[in-house]
Structures are given as structure tokens and as C-alpha cells.
Symmetry: C2
DNA sequence: CTGAAAGCGCTTACAG
DNA sequence: CTGAAAGCGCTTACAG
């Protein structure tokens, strides 16, 4: 590989001058700059970022550890993060924890050893010791979507509580009284928030939530399928199921279809996280939409200010209910779908 | 940050011995090893991968440049790549080209400067000069899914030609004669292969493909929507539309739904790329499934052998037709959906 | 405006 | 089994 030394030789200048020319340092003569550029061109020189990073102690890279890349919610988040990071001059390295604490550990450790300038993490598990250690350490950390209570790092997330209350109002107004839920891992903040808010909203309507109507899921499709099968095996199956993320809703659809049942005639379905496909499932799915891309952008900006040593605070953005047809016909006409969600993931 | 020198001081050994102990070098006494580990623990030492990479000239990292992370096909591919890479001891850095040649260039250049050990790329554009340069340069390169004809690098891809012929047979047997297609960018090999194979298969049946029935798309949802709107505006709209990737099929569904039309009664729809949602759209979508995860795994193994200096060849895997209900009722009962596709993306 | 030199944190022949 | 030393490719005070 051709190094800066080769460029120096070729251009008849010192490596110091070559380095300055390449980094746009003001005190380089036009002549020197031209000779450097010519040498770079003829040699096909490509600066070694590894060496530069070692010297400058910054890599121009941020890490993003998410729980599941196959989850369209996180895919959209990751994309927004990359775009905003690129705009600010950072590259991003994504680690996929696949909802596993050990993989989360693996990626956080790897990213730290790689000397990323900052870390964005949506913890798969509130108990991952490496993530806790990272938040306490010198590398700037920002939590996005999920967080670890007590850890010393800003949090950028959506609050789904109001939207969940709206959802329960909606279900109640449609006459549903036997309402089941598929939860996420209780080790995650979003998992806990969603079940807690749901339980409270049901209580406000005096609707019970028996143990049999609670399916313990893990935010992945298979768990949604299994939980739904158990609901359907009950002597008194629920009227409607609330899957607290989009993949578990997909699993629920699988289970319902496998029995030849219809949504919403045989059983209703609501979800958390809006994704483009929910407009085109049979029937379109009523769901709670998060400002996903905005979360990603805000998180990156928060991390960038942390890296710059500026004071940085947490941000909470609202989520909102998108009524479609999967819980039955609404009393009021549904809001126009396209305006509410069509652009979000495909802008 | 605590460095290897601090560990040496703390343990009363030289940095050389600390380095050997940390790297599992055989000639280190048990006593020394224990003291090193104790010092690492008490100091919270984390090796600096940047420094190691500079010294060893390998980063333990491979790059993956794909055209669109929001495309579930590429998401699944990326995930398989990461899993296989991790199994082989590599990290992967993903660059999202968003179907733009300039972004592809940006990422390939960045990855090369970062001194990745090898590069996996699915070119957004056959004319990206950086990608061509990378393929010609010293860093091992493997193309996955798409490739650049003439570039000197192995290719791991699926061949969709037979499956496309099966699809056209299927459409023909259902009585469709006015058949339209939404193509991908002709700058991509997959874009060209799909339209070419489609055209040939139509010709075998003596079915014409008028210019008005060809929508030029870019593998993204919006282009599928626009192309479909134009088809629907035609004095004689097609019986059925073949969208040559899953996102353009989503866009087509958007356009069809926006006019209050039904699939397949008013217009049929077939797609390329199977994804879990296609089982649950209204109606379930007939599509061509690629062995996506396998492509990712094979590509990583090919790249790893290239890195190891072993001879490496290209691989072509077959794609196959999955008949569902979006083109009309099949003459023969549809194959069971779950076995064919359910596991692929959610294993 | 330019260059010589130190040093970032590691690894690894080389010598003992 | 262990250590002193060179060197990976850069950047950046320091001196001129």
C-alpha cells in the first residue's frame, strides 16, 4: 500500500507538508499543494484512517447498537441515524444484538475497542454489564428508543402512553371487552412502558386483564405467533389482541391465518410501530406510530453535542394512534392513511 | 484511556509480555498471565484495536455496501452477512448506498480508507468508478446479488431466469395476456436480468410487451407507485403487473389501493423477492423467492477465502416461484406457503 | 511556508 | 519465558 511517505518522495516534499496539504491546512503554498495532489493522483494514494485515528484519538465514527435489524422499526431508525451522522461528518457502525444480552455485550465491547467517538444504544437487556460500563465510561453514550434507568446518559425516545390510552378508548368504543396483549421483554423499558400503560388504560375502563390474556413475547415474530396460538386455544378467546411491536403482530397474523380465521371478524388485532406494510395487510392494521426517523436524527445530534463537550439533555417525542380496520369498523371514519404514515418510512 | 503501558507498569512486566499474554501467545508463564489479567481487570484496560490494526495491517473488519437498507431483501442479506462474518471472527461495517452511485462511491472510499480486510458489494450502479477501482485494487472484493460485468471479482448471486419463466407460465395459464412489468435500474445486473428474462418468457408464449407496459423503476417504492398509476391511466390497462422487486410491489399496492381497486379482481400483481409480509398482504402476493440468507453466507465465506489468499470462484444459486393469490386463482392448488417461505426471514 | 522529530498504542522479530 | 527496540502511517508542536 502506498503511504504518505511515498507521496512525499514523489512530490519532493516532506511528509509534514503532504499531511498539511491533504488536511487543508492554510499555511501550504499553492505550488506545494499542487505537487502533492499530482503525486496522490499518480500514485493512487489513499490515506490510512487507522493511522490518523491512532494519532488524533478520534475515529470519526459512531456506533449504533440496536436489538434487531430485521425489525423494520429499527431498520428505519438505523437509516435515519446513518443519514444524520453522515451529514455531521460521521460514519456509523451498526451492531445487531438480536434481542440477546450477550450479543449486545459483544458489540458494545467491540465498538469501544474500536475507539468509536460515541455510542448510540437501544439496549436489548437492561442488565447488559458492558452497556452500563460504557455509559459510565469516558466514551459519550446516548440511549435511543430504549434506555437503562439510572445509567448516566441522555435518552431520546417516544412516549407511547397517551397513544396506548387512545387505542384502548378505541377498542372500548368498538365494544371490545375481552382484550389480550402480547408484551415485549420486561427487561426493556419499552416493553414495560407498553404493558403498564395498557393495563392502566384498561383499568380506567374497568376492563380486567386476566393472566391468560397476557402473552409474554420478546419483540420477535415467533413469540407473537406462539402467544396468539395460546389465546386461540383458550375456552374464551379474546375479542382483540394488542401486539406491542410490529414483528409480534406479524407472528399473530401468521397464527390467525394458520387457523383459517379472519381479522377483525373472528379476532381483532392492533400493533405498536407503524410500517408501510400495515396499510396493505389483510386487513390494514390499526397501530401506534412513532416518529422513528426523527428519533434517529435527534439522537445523533445529541450524541454529536456530547462528543463536542456540550451540555446535552434527553428528548421525549410523542407517538400517536393510527386507526385502520383490524379491530373492527370504527364509529368515526378512519383518518386518511397516506397522510399519516405513508411518507414516514419512504421519504 | 488506560494503555498497555499502564498494564505493564501495574503488573510489573514489560509491554511485550503483556501483549503476548493478552493474545494467547504460548510462551507466557502462568504467573505472568495471571498478573496481567489481574492488572487488566483492576485498571479496566480495553485494548486499542486501532493501534493493533496499524501494526498488524489487518482490521478484522469487512465492509458491506448495499443499495438500500430499507429494502427487506437487503436487510435480510445484511443480517446473514453479519452472522456468518461474526462466526468467522470478522466485524462488518455496512454502507447504505440508497441506490445512488455517489453514495456508493462515498462508502466504498470510506471503507477502503478504513483499511477493511475485504469488501462485499452489491453495486447500485455499474458505473461507480470507486467500486471498479476497488475491484482492481489490493483489497479483496466479492460481489453479492448484483455485480459489475468485467470487474475482476467473484460473484455470489441468484439466477432468477428459470423462476421468471415459471411465473410467466403461471400468468399465461391463468389467462393473462396483457402483462406489464416494472423494471429496476438498467444500470444493475439484476435489473437487466429480470426484464430480459421476462421479455424472453413472454416471447415464448407469443405475448407482446408494448412500450406502454414497461414502467421504468428504481427498485424503490415510489417508482412502483408511479409506474402503476401510469398503467392504470392507460386506455387498456394491463391484466397483471410484475414488479421486479418487493418495494416496487409495495408502491404498486399503494397505487392500486388509492384508486379503490382490488387485487387480483381488477388487476393482478406479482413480485420479485419474497418477504414475510407477502403472506399477509391483501391478497397474499405471488412472488419469486431468493435464497437470501444463503447468498449472504456464501458471499462471506468466499470473501474470507480471498482474504486468506485461497482461490475463490463465483456461485450462482437458484430462485423459485412461490404461487399465492395475487394473480388470480391458480389452476393447481398453491404450494403450502409456510414451508416455502415462512422460515427464511425469521429463522 | 516548510521540515525534522516525537509520539499515538500496539506487535513481533531478535537476543538472551 | 521475558524484555528492549523498531516500526506501522499518520499529525502536530517546535524551530527556522
Amino acid at each position: 500500500m502506498v503511504s504518505i511517505k511515498d507521496v512525499a518522495t514523489e512530490s519532493g516534499l516532506s511528509v509534514a507538508t503532504v499531511s498539511r496539504a491533504l488536511n487543508g491546512h492554510p499555511s501550504v503554498s499553492d505550488g506545494a499543494r499542487e505537487r502533492v495532489l499530482a503525486a496522490v493522483e499518480s500514485l493512487g494514494y489513499r490515506p490510512n484512517v487507522v493511522a490518523r485515528s491512532l494519532r488524533t484519538d478520534r475515529t470519526g465514527t459512531i456506533g449504533l447498537v440496536i436489538s434487531d435489524v430485521l425489525n423494520p422499526y429499527f431498520t428505519e431508525l438505523a437509516r435515519a441515524v446513518e443519514e444524520e451522522a453522515r451529514a455531521l461528518g460521521y460514519s456509523v457502525i451498526i451492531g445487531n444484538a438480536d434481542e440477546r444480552a450477550d450479543l449486545e455485550d459483544h458489540h458494545v465491547r467491540g465498538l469501544l475497542e474500536r475507539r468509536i467517538d460515541g455510542l448510540l444504544v437501544s439496549p436489548a437487556d437492561g442488565r447488559s454489564p458492558m452497556t452500563l460500563e460504557a455509559a459510565a465510561g469516558p466514551t459519550p453514550v446516548v440511549f435511543v428508543d430504549r434506555w437503562i434507568p439510572g445509567a448516566d446518559a441522555p435518552v431520546v425516545r417516544a412516549d407511547g402512553r397517551d397513544a396506548i390510552r387512545d387505542l384502548v378508548d378505541h377498542l372500548h368504543s368498538l365494544g371490545h371487552r375481552r382484550i389480550a396483549v402480547i408484551t415485549g421483554p420486561t427487561a426493556t423499558t419499552t416493553g414495560r412502558e407498553r404493558i403498564d400503560a395498557f393495563r392502566e388504560a384498561l383499568a380506567e375502563h374497568g376492563i380486567p386483564l386476566p393472566e391468560a390474556y397476557i402473552g409474554r413475547g420478546d419483540f420477535q415474530a415467533e413469540s407473537g405467533r406462539l402467544a396468539t396460538e395460546r389465546f386461540l386455544d383458550l375456552p374464551e378467546p379474546p375479542d382483540v389482541v394488542f401486539a406491542t411491536d410490529n414483528l409480534m403482530a406479524l407472528g399473530a397474523l401468521d397464527a390467525i391465518a394458520a387457523r383459517g380465521l379472519r381479522v377483525p371478524e373472528d379476532i381483532g388485532l392492533a400493533a405498536f410501530d407503524d410500517i408501510p406494510w400495515f396499510s396493505h395487510t389483510d386487513p390494514p392494521i390499526t397501530t401506534i406510530a412513532q416518529p422513528t426517523a426523527e428519533l434517529g436524527r435527534v439522537a445523533v445530534r445529541a450524541l454529536a453535542s456530547l462528543i463536542a463537550g456540550e451540555p446535552t439533555s434527553s428528548t421525549v417525542l410523542p407517538a400517536h394512534l393510527v386507526v385502520r380496520r383490524s379491530c373492527g369498523e370504527p364509529a368515526t371514519p378512519p383518518q386518511t392513511d397516506r397522510a399519516a404514515t405513508g411518507g414516514a418510512a419512504r421519504e
